[in-house]
Amino acid sequence: MTVMEQRGAYRPAPPPAWQLRTDPAPLLPDVEPYRVLGTEAARKADQELLLRLHGELVRGRRYNTQATALTKQGRLAVYPSSTGQEACEIAAALALRAQDWLFPSYRDTLAAVARGLDPVAALTLLRGDWHTGYDPREHRIAPLSTPLATQLPHAVGLAHAARLKGDDVVALAMVGDGGTSEGDFHEALNFAAVWQAPVVFFVQNNGFAISVPLAKQTAAPSLAHKAVGYGMPGRLVDGNDAVAVHEVLSEAVRRAREGGGPTLVEAVTYRMEAHTNADDATRYRQDAEVEAWRDHDPVLLVERELTARGLLDEDRRSAVREDAEAMAADLRERMNRDPALDPMDLFAHVYAEQTSQLREQAAQLRAELEAENESDGGAGQTDGAAR
């Protein structure tokens, strides 16, 4: 008996039933971010969509500059601008249907506004009169999430619940490149894949988490490569190409809706402004890097296509500009008014029913406010002004 024959006799069974649980190949992203604008494919892009995206991008840009201006006037406590990332913000909003849910991060007020939320309501958190300025259920927009990545499991739970109820609802959750390092990112993606929940995870890789560049954040080939580790497809897209982002997100939404489970989308983009108005970006990056991205501006990319197709004449341009200016003027005007504040709200929503302690404390505050009012000669101190 030869050694080989012997081995044949005792060749152990492989671990019973071993196999890869799913084929990794289709889960891996392409090597290059998906692009439409500036390629052949752009020619086939729907004209209406292009015009719609253009209008929204111009509005979005104007919204960003207006909000930043409001911080300088002391009308917003802080504003994390999405300038340069408008294609992502707009596409996220447009990819969703009315019944779908958006889970924005703190930088994504623009996505909420593009979804139809009143800009003033979207800015309530950042103005500081309350934590959330709208009813999430009415708009199907979760509160802007400040603790990074914590909103991702919420999106999974909501989408899962909707699916259990038999409702046709998709949740799209936004997170930054920095946020992907948090444990909640990992747990959310894993739950979503195991539950096959109808969720789209949308990472805006804008190159920085405040001052920390991507290279200090991850060593992965791309953030989209994380998807395979959860058994979901990962997609890479040029985040400044509104048509491409819109297409990729729409496809992911469709997939989710059809029972295909979650998708991880990484949009490669760039944060053109500082982290917030309070940040000084010159401490950690070169102007040259910022400049290099100017030619890849999301508004510019669409305008080039529209121009090439002869769809962007001066009339169109000024109509779009006027629309954006009107939005900005309205925002400016309304943000210049002091918000109505009622300190007694502090106690109103802690519990469904106030505890006896809170009732005591509310009574104390009421008495204080009355005393204040009296000593003011009844003029009443507005809290907004007191800031």
Binding site: T132, D135, A155
Partner: protein, 334 residues
């Protein structure tokens, strides 16, 4: 008149029954956690639920507590009423950010638009010979977090009633289950379980005149035992079971201490920074002129929870309670 089929049940069984009845009554109640489905939980509290209601209503999750609680937040956002099981107290810590930054604040953040009717069941406390990380008493963390309710039963009937009330609550409840009472038995009628009282009411478990023992959860039986033993010393101790740490039932507590003039707070959780500080402080504020002695505390030692072989030195027992009672300045009365 129907005869009531009272038979002995354990606290674990009563909790399981509460979950079952809540799920049967309300299709929006969903149970999720590690091993809660097929296995029925490591303490078997969820035994049978997956079978009766299906995997979608009682779900074995991946092993990630922040993910579990975070998913529950999303489910609550969509109108479900999730009941989350944390396998042991110390394994609730990974979910701390979700609990503090979201669960406790979501209602307030959204001006009531998004309530969080989530019940978080946490087996807590020691005395079961558990190795490290299996015997923590973490109630101080939860008490210090506005927006949460903190509830803990000490009897079989309360286990049922308080859990039903917690699940029915439109606010998040950290429901602390005293591990070592899971197997405690009492006569109880599972076919006509006790009426569900609202949470937030303490109860006088034993009336007495000499001093009040203020306690909850696993320390309630210990205090009742101490009260019996105290009779030999001539003390007639009142025992108040708080049942709910948040909301705190100042009325019942204050009435008792004003009556007796003396109080000892008893709990397993560490003393320093523990629940007893709050309780003693508020009793002192409210009953100062009725107090014959400072409100004393008998608590776990201010150490990490000990290994099983040494835990008896940590846990507040009858002797330490009686020692504290003895220090209530009785001479001042005479």
């Amino acid at each position: 008149m129907t005869t009531v089929a009272v038979k002995p049940a354990t606290m674990g069984q009563a909790l399981g029954r509460a979950l079952r009845d809540a799920m049967a009554d309300d299709p929006s109640v969903h149970v999720l956690g590690e091993d809660v489905g097929t296995l029925g939980g490591v303490f078997r509290v969820t035994d049978g639920l997956a079978e009766e209601f299906g995997d979608d209503r009682c779900t074995d999750t991946p092993l990630a507590e922040a993910g579990i609680l975070g998913a529950a937040v999303g489910m609550a956002m969509y109108g479900l009423r999730p009941v989350v099981e944390m396998q042991f107290d110390a394994f609730a810590y990974p979910a701390f950010e979700q609990l503090i930054s979201h669960v406790s604040r979501m209602r307030n953040r959204t001006r009531g638009g998004m309530p969080m009717p989530i019940t978080i069941r946490v087996p807590y406390g020691g005395g079961i010979g558990g190795v490290e990380h299996h015997s923590d008493s973490s109630e101080a963390y939860y008490m210090a977090t506005p927006g949460l309710h903190v509830v803990t039963p000490a009897t079989v009937a309360d286990a049922y009633g308080l859990l039903r009330a917690s699940i029915a609550s439109d606010d998040p409840v950290v429901f602390l289950e005293p591990k070592r009472l899971y197997w405690s038995k009492a006569d109880w009628n599972p076919d006509a379980p006790s009426a569900v009282e609202p949470i937030g009411k303490a109860v006088v478990r034993r009336a007495g005149r000499s001093a009040t023992l203020l306690t909850y959860g696993p320390s309630v039986p210990v205090c009742l035992e101490a009260a019996e033993a105290a009779r030999a010393e001539g003390w007639d101790l009142e025992v108040v079971d708080l049942r709910s740490l948040v909301p705190f039932d100042d009325e019942t507590v204050t009435a008792s201490v004003r009556r007796t003039g003396r109080a000892v707070v008893v709990h397993e959780s560490g003393g320093f920074g523990g629940p007893g500080g709050e309780i003693a402080a508020r009793v002192s504020e409210r009953c100062f002129h009725h107090l014959e002695a400072p409100v004393l505390r008998v608590a776990g030692l201010d150490i990490p929870y000990p290994p099983p072989m040494l835990e008896r030195h940590h846990l507040p027992g009858v002797d330490r309670i009686l020692d504290a009672v003895a220090r209530l300045q009785w001479e001042a009365e005479s």
